[in-house]
């Protein structure tokens, strides 16, 4: 059995420390999944907390039919989609918003390899371009792309999260990568 699923069953039997361990292990991956999908760190934090609250409340009926991480990502995905449907937020296509805190976050995201100022600027701009390109994708294409590229889920796991077939996942990924390649063509790194 999946070790994390085992921990969840222990929490189901009253071991609260098991749930604390699962929270410690998955809150950052879930947070970054939500952030990359929604494009807003505040919303991402809210949904991350809601995801774990839902997991906490649903513990009594939890069954390890899939990996625990797959189950958790499914909850997070549904909450993200609900947030989008509610219209409470819009996925920003314009990254350069002076009121947006994402720019300060972006500066922290640049690899720390002591590049020159010109290189830092170039990397920052490229990261912005990448974010914008991903967010411009439709949700059905953005979701599998983020799950594969950043959350490193397998085709089967992505299919379980999305509730579709592996073939459908592959088709959507192929389409997403094709669109991204077109949008990023001027900036692509060469081997």
């Amino acid at each position: 059995m999946d070790p994390d699923a085992q921990r969840m069953l222990q929490f189901q039997n009253g071991d609260r420390a098991a749930f604390e361990d699962l929270f410690e292990k998955y809150h950052r991956p879930i947070l970054n999944f939500c952030f990359r999908f929604l494009g807003n760190s505040h919303e991402a934090e809210d949904i991350t907390q809601d995801t774990f609250i839902q997991a906490y409340l649903a513990a009594f009926r939890y069954q390890p039919l899939t990996k625990f991480s797959t189950w958790l990502y499914t909850i997070a995905k549904n909450l993200c989609l609900n947030r989008l449907r509610e219209g409470r937020m819009e996925v920003s296509l314009q990254f350069s918003d002076p009121m947006n805190e994402e720019e300060s976050l972006l500066e922290e995201q640049i690899e720390s390899h002591h590049p020159s100022p010109d290189q830092q600027l170039e990397e920052k701009e490229l990261a912005e371009i990448v974010q914008e390109a991903i967010r411009s994708l439709p949700a059905t294409l953005r979701l599998p792309l983020i799950l594969q590229r950043y959350q490193e889920l397998s085709y089967e796991e992505i299919a379980q999260v999305m509730g579709c077939s592996v073939t459908a996942v592959k088709l959507r990924l192929h389409r997403a990568k094709g669109l991204l390649a077109q949008r990023l063509a001027p900036y692509l790194e060469r081997e």
């Binding site: 947070l31 970054n32 609250i53 640049i110 490229l126 592959k170 192929h174 990568k177 692509l188 081997e191």
Partner: protein, 173 residues
């Protein structure tokens, strides 16, 4: 495989999801097809470029806020558990016993007074009858007799008992 098939399987090829035979076939094709090779390079470069988007860290009080919410949920669950506490099984016997005791007590206090009232009423009635039968004038008054329930067994029996105890009763004075 033709170029269309090659490009359709590029992702799986790069992620080693294909069989050895399929991978070998793609390598052979790429060795002699410049457009497909360019497409593969573009695919790799795109994937690498996506890596520029690094992870974020949660805000300073993120964990504290979360565990506060959990604590609040746990408090609410405890409150609701108390409100929905099923009283019946645990308190059935004591409540039943208390109700029985109360009933008996009330009956003990209320019944004697009711009985007394009945006895008093009966006594008053008897006294009225005694007074009546000792007054010949009243007995001979048919209107008075009509008002009385002398024909009822109880009153008639009482009248007989009074006559027997006082033979001069009813013979006129």
């Amino acid at each position: 495989m033709d170029c269309h098939d090659i490009r359709k399987n590029l992702s799986d090829f790069l992620e080693s999801e294909l069989t050895q035979e399929q991978s070998a076939e793609i390598r052979t094709h790429l060795a002699s097809c410049r457009p497909c090779t360019q497409e593969m390079k573009r695919h790799l470069a795109t994937w690498k470029t996506l890596g520029k988007w690094k992870e974020i860290e949660p805000s300073p009080h993120f964990k504290q806020r979360f565990w506060s919410k959990i604590a609040e949920i746990e408090n609410q669950k405890r409150s609701k558990a108390w409100l929905h506490w099923d009283w019946r099984p645990a308190w059935r016997i004591p409540l039943g016993s208390a109700a029985a005791v109360l009933l008996v007590t009330l009956t003990w206090f209320l019944w004697p007074s009711a009985e007394r009232e009945r006895q008093v009423a009966q006594s008053d009635k008897n006294n009225s009858l005694v007074e009546l039968v000792t007054s010949l004038d009243l007995i001979e008054d048919k209107e008075v007799l009509a008002e009385m329930d002398l024909l009822q067994d109880e009153s008639f029996d009482l009248l007989l008992s009074l006559e027997e105890s006082n033979p001069t009763l009813g013979r006129g004075g």
